[in-house]
Symmetry: C2
Subunit: 422 residues, 2 copies
Amino acid sequence: MPSTALLTDLYELTMAQAYLEAGKRGRAVFSLFVRKLPETRNFLVSCGLEPLLEHLQSFRFTKEDLKYLKSLNLFKGWFLDYLEAYEFRADLYAIGEGRIVFHNEPLVQVEGPLPEVQLLETLVINLMHYNTLLASKSARCYIASRGRTLVDFGLRRAHGFDAGLYGARASYITGFAGTSNLLAGKRYSLPVFGTMAHSFVMVFEEEKEAFRSFARSFPDKTVLLIDTYDTLQGAKRALELLKEGVRVVGVRIDSGDVERLSREVRALFDREGFRDVKIVVSGGLEERDIDLWLSTGAPIDIFGVGTKLLTSADAPYLDIAYKLVEYEGKPKFKLSPGKETFPYKRQVIRHYEGGFMSFDLVVPYKEGGLVELLCKEGKLLRPLPSLKEIREVFMEELSKLPPELKSLEKVAEYKVILSENV
Amino acid sequence: MPSTALLTDLYELTMAQAYLEAGKRGRAVFSLFVRKLPETRNFLVSCGLEPLLEHLQSFRFTKEDLKYLKSLNLFKGWFLDYLEAYEFRADLYAIGEGRIVFHNEPLVQVEGPLPEVQLLETLVINLMHYNTLLASKSARCYIASRGRTLVDFGLRRAHGFDAGLYGARASYITGFAGTSNLLAGKRYSLPVFGTMAHSFVMVFEEEKEAFRSFARSFPDKTVLLIDTYDTLQGAKRALELLKEGVRVVGVRIDSGDVERLSREVRALFDREGFRDVKIVVSGGLEERDIDLWLSTGAPIDIFGVGTKLLTSADAPYLDIAYKLVEYEGKPKFKLSPGKETFPYKRQVIRHYEGGFMSFDLVVPYKEGGLVELLCKEGKLLRPLPSLKEIREVFMEELSKLPPELKSLEKVAEYKVILSENV
C-alpha cells in the first residue's frame, strides 16, 4: 500500500507542530461519532475498521512526503523529523463492524499523545464515514429484499475506485450475495457476478444470435439481457433457446416498467415449464424500488443495485465528526451551536426488552459493552473477524432491531441516553 | 500506480471472451455521454481526462490478476493469454477538460477492436463520472462566490481517498484557490490551505492562550477558529491579540448564524481599524448558502467548502453511460425505454450568438469542433494541458455561458440537436 500519510488536511500538521511547540503532548482521547442520523435513516451499521487499521498500520511519512512538506515553508526542521519518526502507537477503542449503531455513539476512539492522535483525524473520518454510510444504505436494501439475492453493480458510478471496493465489502457484510467488481472479489474473496451489456446484444445482427453466442461461451452461467430492443420479444428469444436445450440461468431486465415486465416474463417461462429461469432486475434501483415491487409480489429473484447504492444517493454523507473528548484526564467539549460535543471516553451499554434493542446508555468508559479495546500502543490485540463473521454479527444485530426501525421511512428516534454516571 | 485492470465489472471480461469466440473483433466505437442532466444542473464541466489517460496507459493484467481470474473457472486459457498481452492501443476522442458540456454530448469516444474497447467500460465511466460530477458542482460554487476565495475542505467526507484527490483537482479547475488536502497539493501542485480545529482551542485552558500559541507557531499564516465556545467572544479575543501586535490573517466561523455573525465580527474588527483581517466561513455549506449570504452583502472573504462539494450532495451521480455506437462502420443503437442511444462516432459543433453559446449540433464525426482526437493507437498525440491551462479554458467557457444558465436553479434546457447530417 502506498503511503497515505499525506491524505490529510494541512491543519492536522500545523496543529501538531503548534501543540508540540506549546508543550501539549499529554494524553488525549478523540471520539468518532455521528451527531445526527440522516433524515431517511433509522439506524447505522458500523463499518470500516479493517480498512482503517490497514491504513493506520502503514501510516508513515515517506522521504518524498517530507520533501514536499518542507517545500511549503511552514514547518520546522525538528517537526519534519518528528513526522519522519511517526508511526501509529495509540490505543484504539471501537464498536465492531456489523454492529447496529445510533447517533452520539463512539464508533472509534483513539487515545494517545495529543499531536499523534490529532494527526489521524482526516484518515479516521474518511474511512469510517464512507464505509459506515455504505453499510447503512446496503442494510436497507437487504431489509427490502425479503431474502431475494442482491448484487452490487455500483463500481462504475462510485466516487472513485476505493469507493467501489469499500462499497462491495460493506454491502456483502449486510447481506449482499456478491459484487460485479473483480478487484473487490479478489481482495475480499467475495463471490463475483456478471451478465452481459447491451453492447453485446447490439454487435450481433440478431438478438438471438447474441444470446446463443454468449451461452456457447458460458454454458452454465448464462444470464441474458433481454431489454435492448423489446423486453417481451427478448424473453421470447430466450425461451426459444431454452426449448432448443440451451441452458439459461436467468434473464435480466434493465429498463421499462420492471414490475409489469417481470410478471409477463415470468408467466411466459412458467407456461413452458421453465420455472427455474431467474429474473434479474437492474437499472438505477434502490431499496424503495425493491420494497415496492416485492410488496406487490413481483416475481423478481435477483436485484443488481448500483449507482444509488454506492453513492448512497438519498443520503450521500453522514454528520460524522472526530472530536477531542479528553485531555490529560480532563473532560473536553465544545459549545458551537448545533455541534455541541460530549466529554469523556465512552462505553455504550445496550439494553434489550423482549429480545429487541430497547435503549442505549452512553457512559464514561468501562469494560463490558459495545466498545472494545482493539489496539494497545498501535498493536492489534486480536485478529480481526472475517467478512463472513462480520456478516453473522450483522444478521444477529438485525434480528434484535426493533421491527419499527426496519421501516424504510423515518420513524421515532431510537433512545440514546448520554450519562455521566458509570 | 498499482494495476487497475481488475477495477472492472466481471461482465466486461465474460463479454470480451464471448466476442472473441464469436469472431467479433471488428472496429467498434464506444461513446461516453450524459443522457440527462440532474434536476439542479444547467450545464456540466468536462473533467477527468488526465486521470483517465494515466489509468489507461498503466492498464495491464498482472500475474496475480490472471491467477485470480483463472481461479474463477470461467475463462479459457487462450483468453487469459489475451488479457496478459492486453495494453491500451485504441484511438481516443475527447472534449477537453474544462469545457462546458450538455446532455448527449460525447465526452469520450474510444475506437478500436471490439473486445479491447469493451473492456475499458467500467474504468472510463468511473473516472469521467466522478470528475465531471465534481467539476460541475464546484463550478456552481465558483459562480455563487462572485470572486471570493473558495477552498476545498472536503477530503474527510469524500467517498474514499480517490474522491478527495479528484475533488481537489476538479474544484481547482473551476476556480477554487486551493485545497486542504495535502496529497492533492503535492500531486497536482495546488495551493494548500488550513486553519485550526476546535480540538486545538479546547486543549488550552483559555481560548486566547490557544490563539496565541498558534500565532507563535505560524506567525504569517494564522487563521483563528473563533466559534468553539462563543463566536463574538472568540472574535474579541482575536481582537485583543491584534491590538497586542500579533499578526492574524483571518478568523473562521464554522457554526451558527453565519450571515449575522460575519457582519458583527466584521464590524468589531473594522471599528478598531483591522480591515484586512479576513473572515473565513465553513461548516456544511454549498453554493446556495454562498449565494444567499453574498446576495445580502455578508462580508465573507473566504469559503471553505467540504462535504456537500465532494459528495456533490444535491446531485450525487450523473446519468452517464458508455455505449456502443458503431461496429464495423455500421450504426448501433438501443431502444430500451428512457435509455435510447444514438449511433455513430460524433462531433459537437457549438454555435454562438452575441458571444454566448446558442446551441450545439451533435453530428457524425468530422474534424473541427469540441471533440478532438487525443490518442492514436494508444499513444497520446500531444501533451495534456496543465491545470492552470484547463482553468483558463473553463474561465473562457464560463464567459460564454448564457447568463440564464448560470442560475443555481434549473432553467430552460440548453439546445442540443442530434443530427445525421454531417
